[in-house]
Amino acid sequence: MSSKKRFLLSTLPVLGMLCGIPAAAETLNVQITADIRSSRPGVNRDALSDSVALNVGEGLVAFGERGQIVPMLAEDWTVSDDGRVYTFTLREDRLFHNGAPLTAEIVKQSWEALMAAPDFTCNIYFNGNRGSAVERIEAPDARTVIFTLAEPDAMFLKNSAQSLCGGMAIMHADSFDGDGNWKGPVGTGPFVFDEWKRGQSIHLTKFAEYVPVGEGIDGYGGRKEVLVDDVNLIVTPDRATAVAALRSGDLDIVPYLSTSEAGELTENPNFQVHAAPHGGMITLLMQTADPVLSSTEMRHAIAKSLNIPELVDVATNGLGEANASLVPIGSVYHGEVQERAIDYAPEEVSALLKAAGYSGQELVIQTNRRNPINENVAVIAQSMLQAQGIRARIEVLEWATQLDRFRNGNFQLSAFNYSNRSDPALAYSAVVASKEDRGSAIWDDPEAIELVEKTFQTPDGEERQALFDALHELYLEQMPFVMLANNLDVSVSASYVQNYRTWNGFTRLWGVSLDR
């Protein structure tokens, strides 16, 4: 563009203001890789549906940036001495998108409706299966909500803040039609769910009556100030098309990009690439029930054959950081103990292989191409294992097939990613269990199972830290799988987009502005 044209264009908004022409709406165009499954938080959901739901709705509490619980619609809360009764005091100034004020009765109705929904993903956390059952919810006055649990549950607040539960967002009764069928979300969040063109786009508008609270952006909570007029989430399944659209200005933000594609854009001044670890886990799973891999020495031989920092660096195109612990790097529970790892020690491998009785059996590493990091991990691990005399073959599977094998424990080695876990206890519970009870269990050890159980019952603090430390020491001793790194949020935005970062796999749209 010539400098003359640029000058003329730059003067247009000023001329517009002088002539009384309203300024053009600031619209943020954001890629969404597939359509959402539903608009109801926590019901028939996936990660993309959660992302939209959490911009529209809010729960009583939310996860903060470091995995701590922060207030949201509840101003504060108390827990009874026996740990069974949670009493929340609601904020006074909260409004729903239809203008109705937030009341304790609406909170009660919203929770009860969600828990009664047959396809509510998080039922297990509130029906006594994985967390304590919610016995009753009461609304003694307009600002007080009381939850009584069947038994004490230190995870109650964390479970209710989970993204897969839609943060237990409070929805007004207007979200349903006269027959009780879901119509669309009427929440209290900073964005209004305006229009959903299935397979095409989702349109969110700024909720003008929203009153931001808090000092700064803090996870799903904190200050939610909307700095654009509206947001178009445009379904763009093809990555190459999304990058082309970002280059052409049809998209402002691509929230999820592979590390290799992001790497290509890092040096380009027209784009901002952000990569940060979240609570998801990049792992090399080992089937401990397999005849070869049931030996602890064999598993240690595999771990010591892998130069993990180098593997992570190459597999993530230099954007990732090795983490030997299931406690995410950003968590308040990630301390010195979690920094300990099984070091790369090729000189020890042959003795370990001998002790394990390994006689050259071929190991199969399952992986997929849906997530390029998984494929990279498989390829690099194969090469590193073979360098130490461990025969390995790669089997590339379609994601649904690999997931099916994972669910049934039908693998030897598997380059596998766990999705984001907002609390370390949830990360451990994903891998620690009895293989008899759960085919997908990776670490079947009574001591580990007991420790994980305790992390669910112990409130935040030093005692809980000690439990996570003990779990990590036990993991290093038994090496039931290889934890490589935390998964990454890699986002790319145009240079004129201010303050956007994908956080914990979540497209956080508040606080983002455009400076074209």
């Binding site: 597939a34 359509d35 499954r37 539903s38 028939n44 996936d46 047959p118 396809d119 993903t121 039922n123 297990i124 299966n129 994985r130 897969l164 299935r198 397979g199 095409q200 786009s201 445009i234 379904v235 763009t236 399944p237 093809d238 190459a240 098309t241 999304a242 082309a244 659209a245 280059r247 052409s248 049809d250 998209l251 379609e398 994601w399 649904a400 097939t401 997931l403 099916d404 094998r405 994972f406 669910r407 596998f416 990613n417 766990y418 999705s419 994903a430 009870d437 759960r438 085919g439 997908s440």
Partner: protein, 314 residues
């Protein structure tokens, strides 16, 4: 004529039954199921069992098939597991989007390919013929996704003439819809033109060698008259058959083009339903595609007499 149509429709019934049976069985033989995908790595056996029961996936496959077939006879293709939408309206809506794209593209391809192929055959071995053959071979060899990406990069990114992503239905806003259709239509036109040109040229060459063409020329008719009145109708028969196959094939969804250009058509719906193991949706889509194929080819057969009088007499 009526008897012919009826017999064709009746013979289509076992075909459609076999297609539905094959689709129903094959998708369930692939590892992975919708419940596993919904739960992801957050596996809980109790939740898995409950969700499977709710979706009726815990029943024997034969029973599931009979239930689906029974509902099918009452015009109910079920509901999508992924979105909960009714399958039939969803498939019809997405088919409408694919159809407008495909019909426009095939019509333009035909208009370009028929005269081009005929002239190339008429001028066989000339430099024009050679360039048409080389051009057509190149066009049909280039994958549509690559063609699409090149169009996107050039017209969308470099020149900024056309939008790179998004879709507007021409029914909502005709001109905006047209703009969004230009590049996907162009990608399809380029590819299909290559195929059609080759066919038209080849069948025209066959006809040009026949005695009656020599006779027509001997009568003193101009080359234009010979081509228009004697060669075109006879040479168009094989092309018409090919057009039927192309239409049937493309109307079943142009998944790659739809994915590259973010068009919410039937092809993308099929791909998404396979990845999501959305059994009812996939069954509905593929059955619909099979019906489309049968109907399109029936229409093609019925139109034969227009181009070739010999078919009418038969």
């Amino acid at each position: 004529m009526m008897r012919f149509v009826l017999s064709r429709l009746i013979t289509a019934i076992p075909t459609l039954f076999l297609v539905s049976l094959a689709v129903f069985t094959l998708i369930r033989l692939i590892p992975g199921d919708p419940v596993s995908l919904m739960l992801g790595d957050n596996v809980d056996e109790q939740a898995y069992a409950a969700m499977s029961q709710q979706l009726g996936l815990d029943r024997p496959i034969a029973m599931q098939f009979l239930i689906w077939l029974k509902a099918l006879f009452s015009g109910d293709l079920g509901h999508s597991i992924t979105t909960g939408e009714a399958v039939l309206p969803l498939v019809l809506h997405r088919f409408g989007i694919s159809a407008q794209l495909v019909l426009v593209a095939v019509a333009i391809s035909t208009v370009i390919a028929v005269p081009l192929g005929m002239v190339a055959a008429w001028r066989q071995n000339s430099s024009f013929d050679l360039s048409v053959v080389v051009g057509a071979t190149m066009l049909m060899s280039i994958p549509t996704f690559w063609m699409g990406l090149m169009l996107l990069l050039y017209f969308g990114l470099n020149l900024s003439w056309l939008p790179v992503i998004g879709y507007v239905s021409p029914a909502e806003d005709f001109w905006a819809g047209l703009i969004y259709l230009i590049m996907p239509v162009a990608a399809l036109v380029l590819h299909e033109t290559g195929i059609l040109v080759r066919m038209v040229r080849s069948s025209t060459l066959d006809v040009l060698r026949l005695d009656y063409v020599t006779h027509a020329r001997a009568k003193g008719l101009t080359e234009g008259e010979v081509l228009r009145h004697h060669v075109l109708r006879n040479a168009f028969g094989p092309t018409w058959t090919l057009l039927g196959l192309i239409l049937g094939n493309l109307l079943g969804g142009v998944a790659v083009v739809e994915t590259v250009f973010t068009i919410p058509g039937l092809g993308r719906l099929i791909v998404e339903s396979i990845y999501g193991r959305d059994y009812p949706l996939l069954q509905g889509c593929l059955l619909f595609v099979a019906i489309t194929y049968v109907v399109v080819n029936l229409i093609v057969d019925l139109c034969y007499p227009i181009f070739d009088p010999r078919v009418k007499s038969v």
